[in-house]
């Protein structure tokens, strides 16, 4: 039985994800520390400074009076003891690159254990997709012939796609058939919070399966075969 919370975010900008982020930060007490994992991104001209600024801005927008601190890990860093952190935040970028890193560094298993022990994990865009069953929902991102395709499978055997808009319907329907896996489609302003005993849907989330496209509700998720 998982004790922790997993948050799947559609991956929009700070304004898009405000409602979901607000719920994430409301779970954190003052003096909490977050481990920010921006591994899915590539470095820019001077490394990952812009990532640091971006996440700093996210924290600033939601911390209020709480003291929330964070550390950022980069590809060459050792994975710290996750228990030292009240939450993990896995950012967006290239999903295949991220999963490759997570498998090679055994981070996937550490995250699963962390959630079982009561940890909170937030995944945005690529960070959300890797926590689904199969990451080939974004097959076009596999630009370096990465071999790992099986995600952490933390959402009832379902796969995910982010940045959803209606123009993607045909493509997602095909993917669901090809992968033989229902796919949850998260628009940029939507998300799912999966707790030990409850499911909360934020915004309009869709599911694509053999029955076609439907709105995803907590009841539907619970009753999925």
């Amino acid at each position: 039985m998982k004790k922790g919370h997993v948050i799947f975010s559609g991956g929009g900008d700070i304004k898009d994800t405000f409602q979901l982020d607000e719920k994430f930060f409301s779970m954190l007490k003052s003096n909490s520390r977050i481990l920010y994992i921006p591994i899915a991104l590539n470095r820019d001209r001077i490394g990952f400074e812009a990532c640091y600024d971006w996440f700093s801005n996210v924290v600033s927008s939601h911390a209020g009076d709480k003291d929330i601190d964070f550390s950022m890990i980069l590809e060459d860093d050792e994975i710290p003891d996750l228990v030292k952190y009240e939450a993990l935040y896995i950012g967006g970028g290239n999903t295949f690159k991220l999963l490759d890193y997570m498998v090679r560094k055994d981070l996937s298993q550490k995250i699963i254990k962390y959630i079982e022990q009561g940890g909170i994990v937030y995944g945005g865009s690529a960070g959300a997709i890797v926590m689904g069953k199969d990451i080939r929902t974004v097959d076009e991102e596999n630009d370096k012939n990465y071999k790992y395709i099986n995600g952490l499978n933390l959402i009832r055997g379902l796969s995910l796609i982010c940045h959803y808009e209606a123009s993607l319907d045909e493509r997602i329907t095909k993917s669901a058939n090809n992968l033989n896996s229902p796919i949850i489609a998260l628009p940029e302003n939507a998300g799912i919070i999966l707790g030990p005993n409850d499911i909360e849907i934020v915004g309009e989330v869709f599911i694509f399966d053999k029955n076609g496209k439907r709105y995803l509700t907590p009841e539907l998720m619970i009753n999925l075969p």
């Binding site: 001209r45 490394g47 812009a50 801005n57 924290v59 003291d67 929330i68 550390s71």
Partner: protein, 387 residues
Amino acid sequence: MKNPESKNMENPSCDIEFIEKQLKLVVDPQSPSSFLKIDSEYLPTSTDPIVLTIPKLNDPESFLCNFEGFNLVEPEKVCRPSGDTTIFTTAGVQRIESMLKTAKSVDRESFIVCQPVIRSQFMDKVCDGTSTSFVNMSAEIIRSSPDEFINTCKKLIELVVKQGISIDDLRFTTESSSVKWGSKRFNNVALTLYFNGIELGECVYILDYPIGDEKISITDLGLGVERLLWGLDNSKPYMLGFEDFYEQIEDSDHATSIIDCVKSMVLIAGEDILPSNSNQGYRLRQFSKRFVKRNRLADFNINRLIGIAYQEWKKWGYNPVLTEDEVVEVISAENERNFNCLFLNILLQDEHVDLYIDVNQRTDSFLDQVKFSLSQDVITKIVNKIK
């Protein structure tokens, strides 16, 4: 009309092959990670000791004499205005971003700047050789030719050699990449220079920096002054000016990690930023939290650290808005606040007591309030644990 061949001679394309050919770089067979070195055929044969022809690199003027034809310009503020690519200045080349704010285009220009910068991405990785704040010596040529880029690479090599390093001991890497900077994407080639495995500086040629409808080329030489000086002689402490503190504890990396927090805090607070939960003030708070934790056992004198950092930065052209005393006041108050936070954290973790007391006060008055709820034994135990 010129034929294509003569045009090529005047304006050769700048790629890795061009750099390696122009600088006579060959693979070093003894190096483990495909480093390049200057072909021994082209090395000077003289065995005479190298004459130090430039002064010690301890102020902006000392760099100028190595860059004839460049103008020395004052550094920009460390805290950048809202809407810029980063919230702190991270490199001298960002000056071009500022120039473009007031002009649609930029003219040809060559300048050097010794820019105090902050790179927070290293906040939890600080050790000798890696810091969050340092002086970024940058030499920039806007609308530069490949030949000027090669000449600038040579100036970087000369700069290091004139400090007494044998050219035969220098190693190089070359790289070609497509990069993103804010909303701009461009291609560049880079030469990175190493000594004893430590990266001392790099020279980048940006081939197509987009400005409106135009794409211009820029030569960007950049090096961290503290790292350069330490890399040339790492028997000396990494943070110059703080030698006394390095003598107080054995772990040099730990001393660096404490001093680094203070140097970064001084840069931010000096520009009249107050600690808070937003923007640059949030970063100041993060540095203070790390200082309080890292300084627990070392117990370095914060006022002295601030005083030295303040004067060291000014030496490089940093122009603070607050006086040294005002900076001491801002940083000390924030450190005490974060000491109070740490006290409550340990109380919760070790004693399982969740106490609500306002942390935004001086530690003396905070502890006076704590006395109403906790025994003196518990208070002493936690204070001793922090210190």
